[in-house]
Symmetry: C2
Subunit: 223 residues, 2 copies
Amino acid sequence: MTISRDTPKSLLFKHFARVAQAISHAARIEILDLLAQGEKSVDAVARGSRLTLKNASAHLRILREAALVATRRDGTRIYYRLAEPEVHAVLRAVQGLAERRLAEVREIVRDYFAADGQLEPVTMEELQARLAADDVTLLDVRPPDEYAQGHIPGAISVPLSDLPRHLDTLPRDRQVVAYCRGAYCVLAVEAAALLARTGFTVRRLAHGMPDWAARGFPVERQS
Amino acid sequence: MTISRDTPKSLLFKHFARVAQAISHAARIEILDLLAQGEKSVDAVARGSRLTLKNASAHLRILREAALVATRRDGTRIYYRLAEPEVHAVLRAVQGLAERRLAEVREIVRDYFAADGQLEPVTMEELQARLAADDVTLLDVRPPDEYAQGHIPGAISVPLSDLPRHLDTLPRDRQVVAYCRGAYCVLAVEAAALLARTGFTVRRLAHGMPDWAARGFPVERQS
DNA sequence: CTATTATTCTAAGAATCGTTAGAATATAGG
DNA sequence: CCTATATTCTAACGATTCTTAGAATAATAG
C-alpha cells in the first residue's frame, strides 16, 4: 500500500485512514476481538472466526501492515497479538459509538444480550465486591487457552462446551456469575441460559476479560 | 447499504465495521476534523477540505448514514455537525494509535509540527495557568466563524490570513501562544513561524480547540 | 409563478478491496 | 536431504467504493 505524493496534511490523513480502514471490516473486528483475549496462531484465528485459513491470513496481513497487530514465530507457528492495549480501546470506542448511534445495533443487543427472562448483568465493581466477600462462584466460560493467558482472579475455567458435565460439581447455594470475551460475546449468555434452565441463580458479567484488565482490575495468568 | 441475513454476532460486527468504514477515508477524517470546530454547511465543508461540492456531499452522506454526523436545515443551507462529542474522541484515538504505531506518521509530525527551530508546544495545563496569571497573549488563528462557535476564554481572534496586518497591534513584551484546530492543524504552526520571524517570542498550543473542550476546560461562545 | 441558490440523487467508469486457488517459503523432525 | 506442517505470496475475478457529470429537489426572493 504505497502512499502517493501529496501535502503533508493529506498524507497524514491518509495514514490515519489506513488505520481506520484496517478495522473497517467485520472479519477484522472479530479477529481483533479474539486477539484481545491473548495471542493466537493463524490457524487458531481462522477457527475462532470461521474464516478460511487463507482469508484469515490475508486479513491478518492487513492488520499487521496497519501496525495494529504484532507477531512472533514459535517453530512453524506464527502467533499474532494486539500491538498495544490501546488497539482494543479504539475497538471498544467504535463499538460504543455504534451502539449509541445505530438503532439496529441497539436492537440486536437488546434481543440477544438483554433477553428479558435473564437477570441484569453484573457490573465489574459489583463483581469485585462480591468476590472479596466470597459471595459468588465465578465461571470463565472461554476456551482454556484464553483462560490460561489471563483471567479474573478466583474464576474457574469451565469452557462452555464442558459446562454440561460440570453442572453437578457447582454449588447450588451461591449465585453463579459467568463471563467471557466481552459485551458482544455469546458464550456467557449461553452459559447463563443453560445454568438458569437447570436451576441455578445465574447472572453474567456485563463486559469481558479484556475490559476487566483495561479498567485496571487484577488479572491472573497461568504459568 | 443493506445488511444481509447472518448470525446476530456477525451482523453486529458488520454494523461496527460500517462505523469504522465511515472514518476510513482521508477526506472523511478531514471533514470530521473540520466539523469538530462547529457546524458547517456543505459548501463550507467543501471549501475547508478542498473537495468538490458534489464529492463533499457524497462523503457527508456516508458519514450521515453511519450516524456520525447530524444535520439541520436553515433556509437553503444544510448544516452538518458531529452527532456527539465521542465521535471526535474516536477520531483522536485513531490518530493517536496511528502516531504511536506508524513510523511514517511520526516522521511527518516531526518534520512539520516539531521543527527544531521552534519552541516546545505549550500543554493545556500550562496554558491555563498562564492565562490565570495574565502572562500570555493567546491567539485563535482559525477562521472567525470557528472562533465564534467556541474558543478558549481570553483568546483573541486573529485568523491566519489577517495576522500580517495585526502584527503592529500585538504587545511585544509578552509571550504569544497560538492555537488552531488540533495537533495536526498547520494554522498555528504557520502563525508561530510568521510571528517568530518578526521578532515575537511565540509558542503554539500542542492541541486544538476541540481537545481543550474535550478535556473539560472552559469554552466561550459568541452570542 | 419564475429564478436563484444550496444541496441531493442517479448513474457510470475508474480504482480499490475481498476472497480464494495454486505456488512458494520457513521450520522441525527424521 | 526428505517430508510434513504452518503460513505467506502471487494472481485473478467479482464486489464494493470513489469520483464526477447531469438531472432532480427544496427553500427563498422577487
